[in-house]
């Protein structure tokens, strides 16, 4: 996994400053189907390759970030504020 995360607010910082929540999923609408809610709460892909996750810069700016990384090569292609996406 990447050693440094380029936080859009703080610059490159060691990964120990961050916590990973998991896949960057969009919360379904309140009236979405039962299946959509079940998938959101419980079902996760485990991709080999590009993957988007929510990371929290809890040891820095305390912003939630969307980190796009490749699980096979560890390359981080994009880090942006989760609110901006």
């Amino acid at each position: 996994m990447a050693s440094l995360i380029r936080c859009p607010h703080c610059g490159p910082r060691p990964r120990e400053e961050f916590t990973i929540r998991g896949a960057a999923l969009k919360r379904p609408a309140p009236d979405a189907s039962e299946d959509a809610w079940f998938a959101y709460v419980y079902l996760r892909d485990n991709p080999r390759g590009p993957h988007e996750e929510h990371w929290h810069h809890n040891g820095g700016c305390r912003r939630w970030l969307t980190v796009a990384r490749d699980t096979a090569t560890h390359a981080v292609s994009c880090v942006q504020d989760a609110g901006a996406s």
Partner: protein, 958 residues
């Protein structure tokens, strides 16, 4: 002068003497020596016993790959096992002890294992110790562990300090040999921030013992010039005694520096180096030859022999033979002879002259030579062998790439050509490539650099293009491939015969490469032998995986300063001093130190104290520190909307000046946390969380405001550390508080669940006052700026409030059936705790709404919160004990639930408990059994409502 020290030469300070002990005997050496060179100078060849067969062993190398000469250094807390004698710098008073021998190094009874070797071949574990399974733990493992082994770890606490640090640079160069130095000069001259690390005590690598002339100058002169120039460049940092251990993603490296001792300074420093570019100039390892007795003390690598002669001024023997399988070995032999070492014969395997066995008990005595079909014996006390060179690719492969076999080098090279790695076969190459790589790398980050030039090389290395010799033909006796793990050539062949011919399987079957040296010298020979056995190229066999660390690391370096009282931070409440002055007994709660109870003179048991404290609250007035509760301010026009969405009950209509209890769910419908939130003014709320979940709740709110609903105009911020907070509880609390408070505290002006700003102590303290009750009594929570908390607490105590701690608070809340994280255990819903009616049915959305509606979370047979009263009031009910119907056996299918919290209630004079019981709310009055599985004890108890004191809530509103 000692007998093996050459009359002249070497970089040791001959004018100065250092005394040291090895196995209790005193010796002397010089500054600049290693333990290995000093022992060799004293004629000591036997330095250790091998792992499995207890074979006598001496040094094989002069560097960090040393598999044989492992010793224990130091005593007491500074005792360090498995130190490589070749890397231990000699210091005055050094104490070294040999390992894995009994009773002594010279007479080791464990050597009987050597006679048993036919039974101890590869895979003997699996073949011999088949069963019974019980015997593993009791018999085989203790036996094997005693018989085979390395040094013993120290048991005393290490008195030395260790530290960690970060460094950032443009270019990190690993290895300060000719290539690394050339790269560093190139980069540093161009102004790049350059860090050059080297594991040796002295930088220089091959320049420390090389005979070639560079631009007409000796390597000693060249090295001195290079180091002087680097030292004068402020943008270059040279770290010697610093091993680059690991190469992580994003060019972050870990390195450990063995710091020269200074009073109060650290023993080791763990560096994390962030490099914009990195260059691996890690050099090459010489390959041993595989023949019978190649592990006898006195048999060593040719370049090690040259290093001892030229760097340390030590002859490795009086009659020395060189045995080589490639052209380069002949050059080493000449260099040795030129340095004053007596070379009696040079055997060139390519021309049919081979050593087929080396013999001698505690040290080499003679060799059996096969030369042009004739056998003869050659008396020597040292035999220097060279099978060729293999680049050190360990670091280069740590990020997952598979090394590639190069036929031209007879070695594995790094995974791809793009990797910044110097692979040089001559000194000229090393200097040129180092300089060129250095220039190119700093060029990539926008610095123009001219590659450093050093002039022509006179007497350069001879590139070897010879085919590798994996095993000496006609070899007799034990021929070792992996010296540290005692793996022989026959073991590799056996693994291949028995089907373990995949490189990763052969490694585990034979344990080749699994010792602490990770096969630095053995892997290539093992792969070659495996390839031969399979009849394929080493390219097809492939290499095993390289992982951090490059060499063993002390736990001290990894722990750094984080040990003892600094293992983790300690959080102290703003009221810590107030509690201490009252003799509080503290308990760790997460990182917090919380006052548990306040014993008084004459009290003999903690429960006596807790009973008194709880009775004082219900009968008079008590003061408790609740500063550790999480406090989060929520500010903005949409603050109420946010609260409405994160709590399952309604908050949008909470009036200014009022507080409300809220239940926060997870998205899966289970309870996450609870607490009260008060509305201080139109757009400002303050939320309290439980102590344990404070950080998680803040993170959750941040996720909600930043990711789910970024459109909400609201900000959240933790103010936990800004406020001291105390609970004043009991019938006399209003009277006490009114005396120091400016506001009207009557029931009409300030009823239960009110919140407002007040001033205390005659305008001295601006505080927030909440009328909340966890104890069930008339009670207030007072929040003051952190620095003024003690002032207020002292004033209230002076007026008669008695301090109570976490234990009494627990008793009071269990008596009232108030829940905490004992009950909110991640598997309970609001309905389970009897709070189902709180859940809003009108809100369109809140976190957890959809999943809470699932059938399973609404099922009627879910566990529900009830109270338990034992028939024997003085018999404790234990949290975790299970509830069974009367007469039922203690089996899973009979389980009715479990006790979540229990205590002794001084008001009921009985033990009581809160319990989650299937359909509990419909079973009040039922008699059940409580089974404590830990002690297999049964007790009878009655299910009751989960409120033991004042169910009508009259005291609360008093």
């Amino acid at each position: 002068m000692t007998s093996y020290r050459l009359p002249a030469g070497g970089r040791v300070a001959r004018g100065e003497s250092l005394g040291f002990h090895f196995d209790g005997r005193p010796y002397a050496g010089h500054p600049g020596d290693t333990l290995a060179s000093a022992l060799l100078a004293n004629g000591v060849r036997l330095m250790g016993r091998s792992f499995k067969y207890h074979r006598p062993r001496g040094v094989l190398t002069a560097g960090s790959a040393e598999p044989n000469a492992l010793v224990t250094i130091g005593e007491g807390g500074r005792r360090e096992p498995n130190a490589r004698a070749t890397m231990v710098e000699l210091s005055d008073g050094l104490i070294a002890t040999s390992q894995n021998r009994w009773p002594s190094l010279a007479l080791d009874l464990g050597a009987v294992n050597g006679l048993l070797s036919p039974f101890l071949a590869a895979g003997f574990y699996y073949k011999t110790f088949m069963g019974p399974a019980r015997a593993w733990e009791r018999l085989y493992e203790p036996l094997i562990r005693r018989a085979a082994g390395l040094g013993r770890a120290g048991e005393d606490s290490d008195p030395d300090a260790y530290e960690k640090t970060w460094a950032h640079c443009d270019l990190l160069i690993v290895g300060a040999g000719p290539a690394g130095l050339a790269a560093a000069l190139t980069a540093a001259r161009a102004g790049a921030e350059t860090i050059l690390v080297d594991e040796g005590a002295e930088p220089g690598g091959a320049l420390l013992y090389e005979t070639a002339l560079i631009g007409g100058k000796s390597t000693d002169e060249t090295l001195a010039d290079m180091l002087a120039e680097l030292a004068a460049l402020p943008n270059c940092r040279l770290l010697s005694r610093t091993t680059a251990l690991a190469w992580y993603d994003d060019d972050v490296f870990a390195a450990v520096e063995r710091v020269r001792k200074a009073p109060g300074g650290p023993a080791e420093r763990l560096w994390r180096i962030v490099a914009k570019r990195a260059l691996l100039a890690t050099g090459a390892e010489e390959r041993p030859l595989v023949f019978g007795g190649n592990d006898r003390p006195g048999v060593m690598l040719a370049e090690a022999g040259l290093t001892y002669a030229r760097r340390y001024g030590v002859a490795v023997g009086r009659r020395v033979a060189v045995f080589t399988a490639h052209e380069g070995g002949l050059r080493t032999a000449k260099a040795l002879a030129a340095s004053g070492v007596e070379i009696v014969e040079t055997l060139d395997a390519r021309r049919g002259a081979r050593v087929v066995s080396a013999s001698g008990g505690r040290g080499l005595v003679d060799c059996e030579i096969e030369d042009g079909g004739r056998r003869r014996r050659l008396q020597v006390d040292a035999l220097l062998m060279s099978g060729g060179y293999a680049p050190r690719i360990h670091l280069a492969c740590q990020r997952g790439g598979r090394p590639r076999w190069s036929e031209a080098h007879s070695a594995f090279l790094p995974p791809d050509d793009g990797l910044p790695f110097v692979c040089a076969t001559t000194l000229a190459d090393a200097l040129d490539e180092g300089a060129a790589r250095g220039a190119a790398l700093v060029g990539e980050i926008g610095r123009k650099a001219a590659p450093a030039a050093f002039g022509a090389i006179d007497g350069d290395w001879t590139p070897s293009t010879d085919k590798p010799l994996w095993r000496v033909p006609g070899s007799r006796g034990k021929a070792f491939v992996d010296f540290q793990n005692d793996v022989q050539a026959d073991d590799i062949a056996l693994a291949a015969r028995e089907g373990y011919d995949h490189v990763e399987l052969a490694k585990r079957y034979t344990t080749n490469g699994m010792a602490t040296d990770q096969g630095k010298l053995s892997n290539l020979n093992a792969i070659g032998l495996l390839a031969e056995a399979r009849g394929v190229s080493p390219a097809e066999v492939g290499a095993t995986t390289f992982r951090p660390f490059y060499t063993p690391v002390s736990f001290g370096a990894l722990a750094g300063p984080h040990r003892g009282p600094h293992f983790q931070p300690v959080r102290r409440s703003p009221l810590d001093g107030w509690a201490r002055r009252r003799g509080a007994v503290f308990v760790e709660a997460g990182l917090w130190m919380r006052a548990s109870y306040f014993p008084r003179a004459g009290e003999t048991h903690w429960r006596e104290t807790v009973n008194r404290e709880a009775l004082a609250v219900r009968g008079d007035v008590g003061l408790c520190d609740v500063s550790t509760l999480g406090k989060i301010e929520i500010v903005g026009p949409d603050a109420g909307l946010l609260l409405d969405r994160v709590y399952c009950n309604g908050f949008a209509k909470l009036p200014v000046g009022r507080a409300r209890y809220g239940l926060m769910l997870r998205e899966d419908g289970f309870i996450f946390d609870d607490g009260t939130t008060s509305r201080l003014d139109d757009q400002r709320y303050v939320m309290t969380t439980t102590t344990a979940a404070a950080a998680d709740v803040l993170r959750h709110l941040e996720f909600c405001t930043q990711v789910h609903w970024p459109e909400l105009k609201v900000r959240v911020v933790s103010v936990t550390d800004s406020w001291a907070q105390m609970a004043l509880a009991g019938p006399r609390s209003r009277a006490l508080l009114q005396a120091i408070c400016d506001a009207d505290l009557s029931n009409q002006a300030f009823p239960h669940m009110s919140a407002r700003a007040v001033t205390l102590l005659g305008w001295r303290v601006a505080a927030r006052l909440f009328r909340l009750s966890y104890s069930g009594e008339l009670a207030y929570e007072i929040a003051t700026p952190a620095g003024e908390g003690e002032l207020v607490a002292e004033a209230l105590c002076a007026a008669g409030a008695s301090p109570y701690g976490l234990e009494a608070m627990g008793v009071l809340r269990i008596e009232k059936g108030h829940v905490t994280h004992n009950e909110i255990n991640g598997t309970v819903t609001p309905g389970d705790l009897g709070m189902g009616r709180m859940v809003s049915s009108t809100k369109a959305d809140f976190i957890g709404r959809r999943m809470l509606a699932r059938e399973g979370l609404q099922a009627p047979d879910r566990p529900r919160l009830v109270g338990l009263l034992p028939f024997a009031p003085q018999a404790p009910l234990r949290a975790g004990a299970h509830v069974l119907r009367e007469g039922d056996e203690a089996r899973l299918e009979n389980d009715q639930g479990h006790i979540t919290s229990s205590c002794y209630s001084p008001h009921l004079n009985s033990h009581i408990a809160l319990t989650l019981v299937t359909r509990g709310e419909a079973r009040h009055g039922e008699t059940v059994q409580v089974w404590n599985a830990l002690k297999n004890e049964y007790a009878r108890a009655r299910i009751v409502a989960p409120v033991f004191v004042d169910p009508a809530q009259e005291r609360l509103h008093g």
